[in-house]
Symmetry: C2
Subunit: 259 residues, 2 copies
DNA sequence: ATAAAGAGTATCATATTATGATATCTAGTC
DNA sequence: GACTAGATATCATAATATGATACTCTTTAT
């Protein structure tokens, strides 16, 4: 077996993780053979690894169907993450405050490679299910939060990022033209915040303010989602923006190290 | 090395998981030696496993301090969990609705062994930091949510559980007398909901309604926390309870399998 | 300034541990 | 009642993980 490099890389552990990561929106519970298929591992390996995961409490196993599912331990890991991320402690009170004041959905997002990830979500009003869940990742260029972050970087970095980072089409109106995205990012750099429309969900407007780190660059943002029906640009600018910007500023202090 | 049983148990994987679970409220980032100490694994093993975890993106490593921290992948696992748990999809809209209507903190909790775990939290108003985080576990007997669930079980089960499950003292006023807890559970069985005061945090009242499964037994609950200063029992009963009970009822359908 | 300590990193020979092919058992289908 | 698909168990083999040791680097103390 060649696996990855050598000697300070434990193949079995990596394979075990592969099993964990095989679960997603589409695969929420899996039989042994499902797991084997999905991970590309052979039957026996899957059997042993899945069993280990089960014994260790990382996978629940339905005694009837013999299918595996994520266990509560997955939430405990998230809990540990929240404690480990100083930004969360820093931001939580502000976000709650903001959520109540605005009565809209408020999110804390961080940069994760070339994607953003929702670290904390305070949903308000009816949203898509997935729009209420922590841990969701989106291409940074598609999201208002991502653009707000990138906008705080140097012109060269912005250029490079807009040219190379991935884009994904979510709605018929999702911007796929990089020049249009570039314009959005540059505007955000001017204004100090970013807005998007119809990017993830039709008739949804996103407003995001960067949480700027000690080096002047952001890799986190406060983000807010509202319905474009109820919220004109003017109204957003008057009733939402000041508070969002203020929250982002208050949270600002130090953030996380590199990724 | 004896590890656990044999042949369908992969020791290296179990050890790797041990590293992940070494992180908690108190240990939010750790050096190699910290990890070794905390897990009881030897230096070399820790080195190899931590490195594997790092390469696989499960642990971030500060290039300066060489310390390890949970990565964003931990949140992605939580995301997968949310999709796998039918109750979450079922409950989310109701919880958001409830949160807005009551203006108070609303939680979805599930039973996890003899503890409850917060699966979804919609904080409102200022709370303790830990009271805003998904994934937190509490002894079921201490929590209103736990008592509300247990109250739906048979008298024999209730008896056994109240006698044997763990209790922990969080505040000077936390109930540690099992007979008092028993009374609380029995009352909850009568009323169809449970309330507690000063159990986790002083001057905090918890109200919980069981989410009853197809077999008539609950292992999940809708829970709400309010300040005892602002909320008299009468007011709670009039302004909160009906909605909480209604939400729990609406969510009810089918829940998860055994644990 | 120099030594000592502490922590991170790298190497290597050994056998323990994971491997995966095969066989058996169980449950649903036609 | 025969057939299929999936879950579970067994086992000989060598490939893989092991952990002792040695090497570097940075920090603290003398």
């Amino acid at each position: 077996m060649k696996e990855k490099q050598n000697t300070l890389f434990v193949g079995s552990l990596a394979k075990g993780l592969k099993l964990l990561r095989a679960f997603d929106e589409t695969a929420t519970e899996m039989s042994l053979t499902d797991l084997a298929r999905r991970t590309g591992l052979d039957k026996s390996a899957t059997q042993r690894l899945a069993n280990t995961l089960h014994v260790e409490g990382m996978l629940d196993k339905d005694p009837e169907t013999k299918r595996f599912r994520p266990s509560h331990a997955w939430l405990e890991l998230a809990y540990a993450y929240f404690w480990s991320d100083p930004l969360v402690k820093q931001a939580m009170p502000q976000l709650i405050d903001l959520s109540q004041r605005l009565g809209s959905t408020v999110n804390l997002t961080e940069l994760s490679g070339d994607h953003i990830i929702y670290v904390s979500r305070l949903p308000n009003g009816s949203s898509q299910f997935s729009a209420t869940l922590v841990g969701r990742r989106l291409p940074a260029l598609n999201a208002s939060a991502g653009r707000a972050m990138i906008a705080t970087w140097s012109p060269e970095e912005r250029q490079h990022v807009v040219d190379t980072w991935p884009i994904q089409q979510f709605t018929p109106k999702t911007t796929t033209d990089r020049d249009v995205i570039r314009a959005g990012v540059e505007e955000a750099a001017q204004m100090g915040y970013a807005t998007t429309q119809n990017q993830m969900i039709l008739n949804q407007t996103g407003i995001a303010a960067p949480i700027i780190g000690p080096d002047g660059r952001a890799h986190a943002a406060v983000q807010c989602s509202v319905s474009s029906h109820h919220w004109s640009f003017d109204r957003i600018q008057e009733e939402l923006l000041p508070y969002i910007l203020d929250a982002a500023l208050t949270i600002a202090p130090q953030s996380r190290g590199g990724y």
